[in-house]
């Protein structure tokens, strides 16, 4: 009976390899028993076979019952997080693509059509890529982590009401929008510093058309610093994610911020010690482009600013990092005041 074999195959090929043979044997026996009950032995009609198979039901559903669990790429326990991360990834990708378009149009207005075409191409490429990678990562977490997650859930059985976190003071609460905006900004900064550092400088226009850039950065040694920048912003993204997960400022987040910021400061110190990150020919190029005249008053002022800027940027940056830590600490204190 070919139909029976087709049915058995339809059930078993949805099951783990190790169980297939056994279940096939058992099912075959069952179907034969059911047929035997219906008619005289040896006289089995096609119609009777169909009846029996209909009684057993759809192969997909039967296989589901054998498996005992429903299958999914991303399970319900992960789905909320998945949606949130997906939103962040899509917004980031969209903003980066949009910003690239605006920059291109500003630089080169006449070829707006080309820019528009590349906008469409990068949208068609980029958004599915963001979607795909997010989904892949979550699918892997689902695949690898489901067992782990079950263990965690079981550990949580010994839950006590006193474990409930205090309702934080509104000032200590993390606003979701803020954290997501933070992640989007960090992503954009990585994109800008990583892929368009040659546009980061003084822009020159001639006859309303973009001509060239005198870059702030030293292109020769930029790759080395790029790693540092990605790390710094990458940690920033992790920090924002932690805020999203905890939903309020905690000592752990402040501690993490402190460690990351200290590392950032040390990294910055290295940059200061050997300021090769900056374009060494910046002043010469300014003069060559005819923007300033050498030895003029303007030249002296710009040159002064250029040379001192590293130092002041460092001071500003360190101040920002310290403030970041203090601000976090204050928020934690505030959120605990309502205890």
């Amino acid at each position: 009976m070919e139909l029976i074999e087709r049915y058995i195959y339809a059930v078993t090929h949805r099951l783990p390899q190790s169980q297939r043979e056994d279940i096939a044997k058992e099912l075959r026996g069952l179907i034969e028993d059911m047929l035997e009950e219906r008619g005289q032995e040896g006289h089995v009609t096609e119609k009777q076979v169909e009846e029996v198979l209909l009684e057993l039901g759809e192969p997909r559903k039967l296989a589901e019952k054998y498996r005992g669990t429903k299958r999914y790429l991303i399970g319900p326990e992960l789905f909320d997080h998945y949606l949130m991360v997906l939103k962040i990834a899509l917004i980031s990708a969209g903003v980066v693509i949009g910003a690239t378009f605006i920059i291109q149009v500003t630089l080169d207005p006449p070829s707006i059509l080309d820019s528009f075409i590349s906008l469409i191409i990068s949208t068609v490429n980029g958004l599915p890529m963001a979607f795909g990678w997010t989904t892949l990562v979550f699918a892997v977490i689902q695949f690898v982590g489901t067992k782990q997650l079950n263990v965690n859930l079981q550990e949580k059985k010994s839950w006590k009401p006193s474990d409930l976190p205090v309702v934080p003071d509104p000032k200590g609460r993390v606003k979701r929008g803020d954290a997501i905006a933070g992640i989007v900004f960090y992503t954009i900064f990585i994109a800008i510093f990583g892929f368009s550092n040659e546009y980061f400088g003084v822009w020159f226009f001639e006859d309303g058309k973009f001509h060239h850039v005198i870059p702030f950065f030293n292109e020769d040694s930029y790759g080395y610093y790029f790693l540092f920048i990605v790390l710094m912003f990458g940690f920033g993204i992790i920090k924002e994610c932690l805020k999203l997960i905890y939903g309020r400022w905690t000592m752990k987040i402040v501690l993490f911020t402190t460690i990351v910021n200290i590392i950032s400061c040390i990294g910055l110190l290295f940059i200061i010690a050997e300021p090769a990150i900056w374009n060494p020919n910046f002043m010469n190029q300014l003069v060559e482009s005819g923007l300033v005249v050498a030895q003029s008053e303007a030249y002296d002022v710009i040159s002064f600013i250029w040379e001192k800027s590293t130092f002041w940027l460092f001071i500003l940056w360190v101040f920002g990092l310290v403030w970041d830590i203090v601000d976090g600490y204050i928020r934690v204190r505030r959120s605990k005041r309502s205890e």
Binding site: G29, L30, E32, D33, E55
Partner: protein, 115 residues
């Protein structure tokens, strides 16, 4: 009216699903294969579909409540299931729980609405 039937159908399904395991375990003090079990349950007015019972038997075996053995001496090979030691213990306790539940539910039904 069909709305009532629909609700009833769903609730009956849940009730059956809940009592299925205890019904199946009760018949496995002697080894039985799947289809003979369907027949013996039906004989006692306990409706169960083969497509539900077969996966359930496997699951109970995996949980260690049942033991199984293939018998290849008959006209066709059949897998026989039997209560394991753990299965017997669990069944005894399950029966106690079931009796308690029936008792308290009976009590509830006789005092509807606390009147």
């Amino acid at each position: 009216m069909s709305d009532t039937n629909e609700h009833l159908d769903k609730l009956m399904q849940e009730l059956r699903r809940g009592t299925l395991t205890i019904g199946v375990l009760s018949q496995l003090h002697e080894p039985q294969y799947g289809y003979s079990l369907v027949a013996s349950l039906e004989e006692r007015n306990f409706q169960v579909e083969a497509g539900t019972l077969y996966p359930l038997l496997r699951r109970l075996e995996k949980q260690g409540l049942l033991e199984s053995k293939w018998d290849t001496n008959e006209t066709r090979p059949r897998k026989y299931y039997l209560l394991s030691e753990t299965g017997k213990e669990v069944f005894e306790q399950l029966v106690e729980e079931w009796k308690n539940m029936v008792g308290s539910l009976e009590n509830l039904l006789q005092n509807k609405g606390g009147s």
